[in-house]
């Protein structure tokens, strides 16, 4: 990795994943997805709307907390982000906890809107920086939301998964992840070693392209300023290039 930080790479990748969307919504505690969405918007020449939960400036909701969810069901949200304390190879996510339910040994906050948004938003991007076998498990302990469904109205679902190591696409037919690219400085082996489930993988996996100078300038300038409204501490770190460590809290609805 040279010339840009991991965070900047992730922001740039997210912006690419959002290309062509009319409306991208970003949930709470999501500084990198939020920055990526704002970058995508700045590159869309006025074609994209972005709603950032917790923002005043980038949040047009006037119907209370329910509006985000109603918008999703109306088909007016094209992309959304979810995370997971655990994610498995079928795209199931767990935001609730491990070691039994309801008396979980480790209890996380809860499922938020995942059990709904994952079904309704066409392009759900799973974003979790921590890429370890602790997170990427053979099977989640609790299904906050399943990766796929049968016989159920489901216009939405997983589209891609982005981690600190790599980018995956989700193949809805095969119900499996496919490794799309590995970030600079990492290898397919490293990805495999740190993933507790099987995934599809071509013989040659490209490197994730980093942001070019134009993109970097936008991230460090206007995007940083915009995201500072909601995430001032994150924005401060974003200003300092080549900062490889970022808080790893899972994004949530």
């Amino acid at each position: 990795m040279s010339g840009f930080s991991r965070t900047e790479l992730l922001v740039a990748v997210i912006a690419r994943l959002l290309r062509g969307c009319n409306h991208v919504a970003v949930g709470a505690s999501s500084p990198i997805p939020g920055s990526g969405a704002l970058l995508a918007r700045s590159l869309s020449e006025g074609q994209m709307r972005v709603s950032v939960l917790g923002s005043q400036r980038n949040n047009f909701f006037t119907n209370g907390g329910v509006e985000l969810f109603d918008l999703a069901a109306e088909g007016r949200i094209d992309a959304f982000f979810l995370g997971g304390g655990q994610i498995d190879g079928r795209g199931n996510i767990n935001l609730v906890g491990t070691g039994g339910y309801p008396r979980s040994e480790v209890r996380w906050p809860g499922s938020f809107g995942s059990a709904y948004m994952y079904f309704l938003v066409p392009r759900v991007i799973l974003f979790r920086e921590e890429h370890t076998r602790r997170v990427m498990v053979p099977q989640v302990d609790f299904v906050s939301a399943p990766g796929s469904s049968e016989g159920v109205h489901r216009p939405g679902g997983p589209f891609a998964m982005l981690t600190a190591l790599a980018l995956f696409y989700f193949d809805r037919e095969r119900r499996r992840f496919r490794l799309a690219s590995v970030h600079p400085g990492h290898s397919v082996e490293e990805v495999r070693d740190n993933t507790g489930f099987e995934f599809d993988c071509a013989a040659i996996v490209p490197e994730t392209p980093g942001p070019d100078e134009t993109i970097l300038t936008r991230i460090r300038g206007p995007i940083r300023e915009e995201i500072a409204e909601v995430y001032p501490r994150f924005a401060a770190k974003l200003a300092a290039p080549r900062d490889p460590s970022q808080p790893a809290a899972p994004p949530v609805v």
């Binding site: 709470a28 505690s29 917790g54 005043q56 909701f61 006037t62 119907n63 209370g64 907390g65 329910v66 969810f69 069901a73 935001l95 609730v96 906890g97 339910y101 309801p102 008396r103 979980s104 040994e105 480790v106 209890r107 996380w108 906050p109 809860g110 499922s111 938020f112 809107g113 995942s114 059990a115 709904y116 948004m117 994952y118 079904f119 309704l120 609790f142 299904v143 906050s144 939301a145 399943p146 469904s149 016989g151 159920v152 109205h153 501490r233 809290a249 949530v252 609805v253």
Partner: protein, 274 residues
């Protein structure tokens, strides 16, 4: 009626009875923290707490104070300060009747409560463990289409809801601004308790600009003035989070002793003056 509407914060909190189904809003919508302190001071017990649709420090404190028997929420989180330590501990100890939900289901169930209908349908949910563990939720066949199973959730009609808002008027109308879920919550609840930053002499319903964001007095049981009543949480553009206190809570409440220490400090605080 209007005479009794205005109360002290302690009197207002006294209207949340042991065993009540109590609805409270998420952190950004106006949490009645001063009133919550009075609840804890009084030692309220056996609450069925409904977080609309998630809870934060308020829920975690109530859980740590053994005030909650049943918890219905889509999440408990201190935001950037992490998970709720007392919540996680109560889950480990098995002392909570836990009803994990998902945000839109809480909103939809309250909208059903508001409309006086016994249930409402909701997309998603089917195939999740959230659904699997909610024996009070069901899947039915969409009566208007073939092969279309859909989740239905029963209405939530809380005994009482409690929140903090910027402004009320002397008739008991409450301005909630963008936080329209507060209006839904109040419509669905039998009683509504509101603490406010201030009371205006103007009539809020008569104001064409604001009226669309006002909860009418008919839904409001009691109002108490509580300056900075949401602190340590933020209230809209009026004041930000008290990050020092929130961080201190997140740190101390990791242990039961630490939590007790925080509680002692918090309960002994004088009301913060604006």
């Amino acid at each position: 009626m209007t005479n009794k509407m205005f109360a002290t914060v302690a009197e207002l909190a006294g209207c949340v009875h042991n065993g009540s189904k109590l609805a409270v809003p998420k952190d950004l919508s106006g949490v009645a923290m001063q009133a919550t302190r009075e609840l804890v001071r009084r030692g309220v017990r056996d609450l069925h707490l409904v977080c609309v649709p998630t809870g934060g420090i308020q829920a975690d404190i109530l859980i740590g104070s053994d005030a909650v028997r049943t918890l219905e929420t889509s999440a408990i989180s201190l935001g950037e300060f992490g998970s709720g330590p007392r919540f996680a501990e109560a889950i480990r100890a098995g002392t909570l009747m836990m009803r994990d939900a998902t945000c839109p289901a809480v909103y939809a169930a309250l909208q059903a409560g508001e409309k006086g209908i016994p249930f409402i349908a909701l997309r998603g949910l089917i195939g999740s463990d959230v659904m699997k563990h909610r024996s009070d939720w069901k899947v039915i066949d969409n009566p208007f289409a073939a092969n279309d199973p859909i989740a239905v959730v029963p209405a939530i009609q809380p005994d009482v809801c409690m929140f903090h808002a910027p402004l009320a008027d002397r008739s008991g109308n409450v301005f909630v601004g963008r936080q329209r879920e507060l209006i839904t919550m109040a419509h669905a609840s039998r009683e509504t308790l509101v603490t406010v930053e201030a009371i205006t002499n103007a009539n809020l319903i008569d104001d064409d600009a604001r009226a669309g964001a006002v909860l009418p007095a008919i839904y409001v049981s009691h109002i108490a003035v509580a300056k900075r009543g949401a602190q340590p949480l933020a209230l809209g553009n009026l004041y930000p989070d008290d990050e020092a206190t929130l961080a201190r809570y997140a740190m101390l409440s990791r242990t039961s002793d630490g939590f007790r220490q925080f509680l002692e400090e918090w309960l002994s605080q004088d009301l913060v003056e604006a």
